[in-house]
Symmetry: C2
Subunit: 85 residues, 2 copies
Amino acid sequence: MFNLTTIVGFVAAFCTTISFVPQALQTIKTKNTKGISLLMYSLFTFGTLLWLLFGVMLANYPMIIANGITNVLAIIILVYKIKYK
Amino acid sequence: MFNLTTIVGFVAAFCTTISFVPQALQTIKTKNTKGISLLMYSLFTFGTLLWLLFGVMLANYPMIIANGITNVLAIIILVYKIKYK
């Protein structure tokens, strides 16, 4: 399982997920979603859900972990965007 | 090639890439990178490069297309961030 390809995938997953978390937590904390486009963020959230599904279909763990975390955070932000417009 | 899994992957690639493009083009057009953290954006850009490499290693076209486009835009924004701080 831990061949070079899988390692590259896990490092990729780590980098993009970690880079998304601070901004997501900041948005969740402040509830300030003014800079976010509802249409574009809906598309992004739906996209991460499909990447997660794609990862599950391929049994690709880096994709499942990265998109699982990102999707949960994106859904919370999207709910805030709709709730506190 | 065009089975259900590949279709899910291409729709996922379309959604996350399209949702990233307007914000990226806006940043490139205005050269305003004040809201961007250099550390987090460097990590994101490196991450998309690794996802691209991971996609190439797996010969996974949705991953290659999505991360290829996102990585090029992210590199341009990162150069602007460093140039116009």
